[in-house]
Subunit: 385 residues, 3 copies
């Protein structure tokens, strides 16, 4: 643990931003600090040492979509640091009364240290909503309405899923020994078949938007037509150049898996489908949604062979690539008839996927720590006493 | 802060009642203690000092109507003092099993320090329900079933909304420098047009039932037919006489605004409509409710000019009266086509309304403190160590 | 309190199991430890002394059926020991995504010390589900996915209701002075009429499955056809033999009440009806459920004289048996027209039933304590400082 504390001390955190919305808006130091503090909190938790850095305060969560792991990770992180979770249930609130985002954001923040938001349903909305909340509490703080400026944590939006991608990075760091060891490693972020449609783009976007910063060989694979938001792909490309890694898009799962050190096979909806779906959802066009779903499922059905099988795993480096998933996976013959991954591959890597998920509460706690604690070093020293 | 503590010390709190249900049932000392402790807790919070007076215990909330600000204020207050919120969701409980109020009240109270209730839907019911809960826990405590007697806090009933009116009083004290400075100040508690109908009477009743105790010139304004519960108006009248203030009812918004130091324009349903609505709600008469709503909205529509506009604000003292609202306001062109207040007036006073709301968590915390702490001075001294 | 601590010290708790699922799977020492620690925590609470043994951590609750008392008892117990409750709302989770129990159990457990589950709707399911969760977290802990192995607490399943039966035992111990004094006492666990049907079997099963271990004369009474799960009745019989008590089944309420020291009149559905109901619920056969209900209610109606009246109470020892109920009771003329108990009998024993319920938060806290604390004696000594 002393090593970790030394490394944290060496970082300049004076410019740490208040929010954690998109990994690509955070500096390398901020990302490293997040990883290191997550590691420290995790190690302390393993040893049964308390991580209470706040004496009181709320951690408000706003879930506009279902969640198990992120909900419990958020609750665990808040509790570990000494905050109480208060869930904002928009149905039980007066939001329907026509209250503005600016007002609600301030009304829930008088004693709040952190606000976590999941809003991944509508393309073009989740991130915008978070920005609006962020500006509202910033103004409230400047105007003296709020004693503290709560930090925002993106618990999944339409663009990025930073608590997931940072947990994945923490897993990879641990698995391969260091962040430096990731350089040159090939990861296949691949589309995979699922019996459902309309899964968010934020996981693959989060992965290519983060891992291209570490000199990795990032290969995005999907059937034609299943492309991501163009801006994120462009960003990944640019980052790969800067980090001396590479970023490729292929339309062939086998090609992506070839010699990969890591595979991440996961279903998502095509970008243009999410756009269409968003406007149908907005206009509450149920018939339109059903017909879009039928069309998409029919199209999906052409790609049932995009499944992570033992055969496909043999294509990877020494047939031993690390299999990753944000969970829950659509497992063939377990959770569905035909899915993203075969039961035998999933079972082989089941413990690894659980471990991957186990980083999330600590990553979120680190984000809360960095946004909520005025002087991280003072807080860390206090913890040790 | 030392000044505040000195003032608190000078108060005789030996007769502090267990519950905070109606401001007019509380003595001047009790109200002053509530304000002072709220101020102290607020100042300590601003300085980052903890307000933990309980080591553990539950703060149970029962919301029989939607809420954002009061819900979060209650959660914030509980957390700040060291209590955990446990929300009683009557749909998930066995209340529907025919359990009596007496029984439920005891069953949720074994380790509970405070119970907050919002029950403002049915005229003649909210306050009665709170009294029944209060008597039940009192008996439970006397009989040795409960180790502690949880205090009740009215989070809005059919008659009063004391956490709101006390927050408003705290705002006014701060805005005008002292409670003494409120003497002779004119407040216009005015009905205002809203596109909805059936808003509770508890805010205007709470305002006239509290501010008439401080020598203010309280003017209640509403269109003919929109009167409040007669008993509360009579009480306001009596209190104004005792405090050497005044209480007037007018049917003209302009008259009320004339030379006012404070304006509080807000929609509410007429008393007799609430009575009719209550019996229709009880008999689940949907058709009756719809026809009542239609009738009321049609009647409301005659009074769209009861809007707090810049022109109306010019009538107030130097055109600079303080605009107050419990929020969310129906803002013309923002949250509705035509509402209680124009966008420009609201925007001018937006920060003030947010500040007004910011007192609520501390007011509720003060109420919790006074009902839950055996010796307030001992608890305050402990906080300082 | 020193006496209690001495007794706890004398117990060998080295084999304390992780979970509390069925009382008959727990050793006499484990049951005694649970009672003693509950008493200690209760006495400390009465004296206003804190019971915080955890610095942080989650207590996850999963309620698959309505609950008031158990929900608040669980929340109170968790809070008293320093844990935060996180309720797993399966509708808001991704359980519907086809996630396996094994996966969900681990995903909610990264910082969780205890998991409480109520699952009493389907015969043959609740206990099995709890076992599956238990095995999942055990494996997760062994595999290094979880830093701690959360303990499971059965908050009512299809077979047993140990938090209820242990609270009842604590009540009886207190009422009669000691566990030893229960030897030879007669308890009438009797079916009683209720206007509803389909109440779980877990309370009567829990009572006969626990009290037959203490040398009591346990008489189970019900109309013909209202038998419990055969295995539990057999177990009760065997235990009664071992403990030198007795276990009898009669079809006559009067016979059961005759000379009873304690009566526990309560409605339940016949075992075979619960089986039929379970398969209808599983196949979502609404018509089938309605016709089953009609049939059962018609059958129930033959036994409206199975009511605990003053007359029946006269049959008991000196007419002064202790009346017990898990609450809420169906009280004639109070919560229904005709129910399990007359208003006068219930009112006479109302305080006793509330006291009976008051043990539950402490019993649950004791279960949490014993599963979550590594060295109970160290923890108890720390509490005292």
């Amino acid at each position: 643990m002393n090593d970790i504390i030394k490394k944290i001390k060496s970082l300049d955190l004076s410019n740490y931003g208040n929010d954690f919305l998109l990994t690509w808006d955070k500096s390398p130091e901020e990302l490293e600090a997040t990883l290191l503090i997550a590691e420290l909190l995790r190690e302390r938790h393993r040893l049964g040492k308390p991580n209470l850095v706040f004496d009181s305060g709320l951690a408000v969560s706003i879930f506009r979509d279902n969640s198990t792991r992120t909900r419990f990770s958020f609750a665990s992180a808040a509790n570990a640091l000494g905050l109480a979770v208060s869930d904002m249930d928009e149905e039980k609130s007066q939001v329907s009364h026509g209250e503005t985002v600016r007002e609600t954001a301030n009304m829930i923040s008088f004693m709040t240290r952190v606000i976590g938001i999941r809003d991944d349903m509508y393309l073009g909305e989740g991130h915008s909503y978070m920005k609006e909340v962020s500006e509202a509490v910033q103004t409230g703080f400047k105007e003296g309405v709020l004693h503290n400026r709560p930090g925002l944590i993106n618990l999944q939006c339409d663009i990025d899923h930073p608590t997931q991608s940072m947990s994945d990075l923490a897993m990879l760091k641990n698995y391969f020994g260091s962040i430096e060891n990731l350089r040159g490693k090939k990861i296949a972020m691949s589309w995979a078949y699922s019996p459902s449609y309309g899964k968010p783009l934020s996981v693959p976007q989060g992965i290519i938007g983060l891992l291209t910063r570490y000199g990795m060989d990032v290969t995005l694979a999907h059937p034609e037509g299943y492309s991501l938001i163009p801006e994120v792909a462009q960003l990944a490309d640019k980052q790969a150049q800067v980090s001396d890694g590479s970023f490729n898009i292929v339309n062939d799962m086998d090609e992506a898996f070839k010699d990969a050190d890591i595979v991440y096979p996961k279903s998502w909806a095509p970008f243009h489908v999410m756009e269409a779906r968003t406007s149908l959802l907005k206009s509450s066009d149920k018939a339109g949604l059903q017909s879009l779903e039928q069309e998409c499922l029919a199209n999906n059905a052409k790609f049932t062979d995009w499944e992570c099988t033992e055969e496909k795993m043999k294509l990877t480096r020494n047939g031993e690539a690390l299999y990753m998933h944000c969970l829950p996976a659509d497992i063939t013959d377990v959770s569905c008839q035909q899915g993203e991954v075969s039961a035998s591959v999933f079972e082989k890597y089941r413990r690894d996927t659980y471990l991957e998920a186990s980083y999330k509460p600590f990553i979120i706690a680190a984000m809360m720590f960095l946004t909520g604690v005025k002087d991280p070093m003072v807080a860390l020293n206090k913890l040790d006493k």
